[in-house]
């Protein structure tokens, strides 16, 4: 199965500093090897696309790490390569993640000129105490300056869209605190908000602090209340929840991330990046192949400089696993899982079995609904989504 258009994820792992709660593929190094990294990315793109049918590129996402540390010239080089291969679609969404702490005035203008249409900034909080608690490199002033920059670029049409990340459910954070952060972000004119419940991930410094009792564990009730409150908090600015943690004005949903949640294919390059491409086996029992690059930047660089990719994960996703993933990711969306599209990929019998599980789960009052051919979770039950998924996936 060949996709009619592609999504491409490009990972840039380098950060100025590692945050306490972060478990992403990152590397905090003193001197970032920008040129070397760019050459390796182009090498990996060449290797990975060798066996793929070129098709127009609908979305590109530069994630990290802190890709705003890469520099507009490098980002532009990568975009030109992609345009030469499949062609960037006229309405392509090209997103760059940026970190307020390392953005200088005018940086975003540079990226916009290099072909970035959308910027996603990790604001996390507009409260000085909480930013310190989260170990962020930036302060409130830097966050506000970045938001103001985004507002200006959006107003002038230099960016087509923008997004800001906030963290909620941080110990000590009240509902009023969250409302203050939301207002501060959306007042800038940013049409998209990602609001994440603080999660204590295994292997992070935060986990160590929580386990040693140095830091309070995030309060489940407060997080549940704040999850429920968010749609109301963002509504005055015209935003709606379209995914558990994502809110947007209509037309500003993150299309790249939607590709993940809808089960589409995407190409991924860079240290630790994960992609999902048509099955290399061409075996009809496989929905696709997922790969994950090694998370060690030296190992990843060395391999590409030797002319090969270094993967830590390579698995053919069979149809049952694909259905599980589609339910798991699709139910995160307000639009739910399109069962007709799903049956096209995994066959009608599997979807019928899924419908049967749904009926059984409903009998046990699991909050899952069938709206026509869409499987959905009621807005009030979003905070219990994983339990729903366990009941039906």
């Amino acid at each position: 199965m060949t996709p009619s258009c592609w999504s491409v994820y490009v990972h840039f792992p380098y950060c100025a500093k590692r945050c306490a709660y972060c478990d992403f593929a990152t590397a905090a190094v003193r001197d970032i090897p920008r040129d070397r990294y760019t050459r390796a990315i182009l090498r990996e793109l060449a290797l990975r696309t060798a066996t793929l049918e070129p098709a127009p590129i609908a979305t590109v996402f530069f994630g990290g790490g802190t890709p705003s540390l890469w520099g507009p010239a490098h980002v532009g080089t990568v975009l030109r390569w992609l345009d030469d291969w499949g062609g960037l679609a006229a309405d392509a969404e090209v997103t760059l993640e940026a970190n307020p702490g390392v953005l200088e005035a005018g940086d975003l203008d540079g990226y916009a000129a290099a072909g970035i249409h959308r910027v996603s900034v990790g604001i996390q909080s507009l409260d000085a105490g909480r930013l310190r608690w989260l170990d962020r490199v930036h302060d409130v002033a830097a966050a506000r300056a970045t938001l103001a920059d985004l507002g200006r670029l959006l107003a002038r049409g230099r960016l087509r869209s923008a997004s800001a990340d906030l963290m909620f459910g941080v110990p000590g954070q009240t509902a009023a605190d969250l409302a203050h952060d939301v207002a501060g972000v959306l007042d800038s004119g940013v049409p998209h908000l990602s609001a994440y419940a603080l999660t204590v991930e295994a292997g992070t410094p935060l986990q160590v602090r929580v386990e040693r009792g140095l830091t309070a564990r995030p309060d489940e009730d407060a997080q549940a209340d704040q999850l429920d409150a968010l749609p109301g908090l963002v509504a005055p600015w015209g935003l709606q929840r379209y995914e558990v943690s994502n809110f947007a004005r209509i037309g500003h949903e993150g299309r790249h991330n939607l590709a993940y949640w809808r089960g589409n294919f995407w190409l991924a390059v860079g240290m630790g990046a994960h992609g999902f491409v048509p099955a290399s086996t061409h075996d009809p029992r496989h929905a696709g192949t997922r790969y994950g690059n090694v998370r060690d930047h030296e190992a990843w660089l060395d391999a590409l400089e030797g002319g090969r990719v270094a993967e830590a994960l390579h698995e053919d996703i069979d149809l049952d696993a694909h259905l599980t993933e589609r339910v798991m990711t699709g139910l995160r969306l307000s639009e739910g899982v399109d069962l007709v599209a799903l049956a096209d990929r995994v066959g009608l019998a599997r979807v019928d079995a899924l419908r049967a599980r749904v009926v059984l789960a409903q009998a046990r009052r699991v909050p899952v609904e069938l709206a026509g051919d869409r499987l959905q979770v009621a807005p009030s039950a979003v905070r219990l989504l994983d339990a729903v998924v366990r009941a039906v996936a």
Binding site: R364, R365, L384
Partner: protein, 600 residues
Amino acid sequence: MRAEHIRNFSIIAHIDHGKSTLADRLLERTGAVEARDMQAQYLDSMDIERERGITIKSQAVRLQYTAQDGKAYILHLIDTPGHVDFGYEVSRSLAACEGALLVVDAVQGVEAQTLANVYLALDNDLALVPVINKIDLPAARPDEIRQEIEDGIGLDASGAVLCSAKSGVGIDEVLEAVIRVVPPPHGEADGPLRALVFDSHYDAYRGVMVQVRIVDGRVARGDKVYFMYTGGDYEVLEIRVRTPKEVPVDALELGEVGVLVCGVKSVRDVRVGETITHHKRRATVPLKGFKEIKQMVYSGIFPVDSSDYEQVRDAIAKLALNDSAFTWEPETSSALGFGFRCGFLGLLHLEVFQERLEREYNCTLITTAPSVVYKVQLLDGTVMDLSNPGDLPPAGDIDFISEPIVRATLHTPSEYIGAIVGLCTERRGAQKDLRYMSQRRVVLEYELPLSEIIFDFFDRLKSATRGYASLDYEFLEFRRADLCKLDILLHGDIVDALSVIVHREASYQKGKSLVHRLQKVIPRQQFDVAIQAAVGARIISRETVRALRKDVTAKCYGGDISRKRKLLEKQKEGKRRMKHVGMVEVPQEAFHAVLSTDED
């Protein structure tokens, strides 16, 4: 082989004192097993036996040994089960022997389990060969241990053999002592056949393999035989001896031990303790000591997923083929659906059975809390046997309930008398006797309700006496008691599989602690779950498992999907082990919450 060159013996030892290692060494020394084929604990063939260090099935091996007197001997080593649940099987295995090695650890000395089995051996008039093992340990104190054996058991230990089964020191001396001390079998070689059945097991190709010891006469292939207690006629199709490889032989003579294959279809047709004689030339009197096996403990076994019912049924049927002490019949529970009511000798028997179902047959099971059998006298004059508390008729129909009482014999060093008296009193025991066997050794006899000792009595006893006390019990009678049914309600509905019969005086305390423990094991659900304990219509305790407020992953992007899917699959596996009882998801361990009485 003439009987005077035969020696039949078993090994008595406390757990960890080296019984299996010594048996391995004896097999190796007599050439029965090549060192290269040696697998530790050769005789304990089941995984569970090896892991728990206990022997469940009896095994007998034939060893050829040329002694220092230049004569060739045949030694039969009969390995016996080692747990209070299997006391009767132990006694029959010992009855097949004339002697036993009493293995004592050179550091730890005489311990409780050793003593209990020593008394069984002495009851069966066995000659004991004291063996002090692990003498190569730096802390070995053989002289003191010798004194302990003399003081504690009253056995002359001056000739005790010193050995180290691990390093192979003293193994010849052990074998020589067996020849010297254990008497040869005595019986009537020309008399009518009497063969003692001390175990049997099922073989898929040959049917039941019957382990026998020839007490009188001889048996040959082709003989027509008669089972004196159960009354069956059979023909001896094959005779085998284990060396430990099975070797066919033509006949078994007086004193020999071997396996008869005689077309018996089910292990239930051959009882341990049976006497086999010839069809034509019958013995007049069967051998003493036959007892009907009685299941003491009943438990429901249910598949977690009701579509596995047939798989579980077939697995139970297969295991039952080899377990004559086990009974089963279909059972339905409103909470758990279709399953089986199963009878066991005791809790260990139950646990081992359940573990084998799960491990060897890959069944996912819920077992309900074990129950004893009660006699319920109804007002209409009828008496019902109640092995499932859920089946108790309404209180208005019941005249009274009787519970099984056992006579328990506890051997203990005198310093633990206080602890044991306290434990037995707490368990509604009545002291019947207290005797000093020596200055330090005491025997206590108690009448105790069986229901009070099947749960954690043995564990409590062991911890209260640091393992030094031993427990043996036998059924005495049914006795009227003030008993009532304690029901558990989840989310407003009675869960029949959680009901227990309790003494009325203890019902409040039991209900409270049971509810408390259930609150800990029942996971949070999407709604508040009330857990209540009730006697009749009266609620005596209540706790709530608060509804889960938040259960959602904050971020799930491209790089997370494989990892999250695998986590989800793992969680679903855990969920499969949960049972939906009405609306509530209940984990397996909830059904055993009633077993532990420790407050934590």
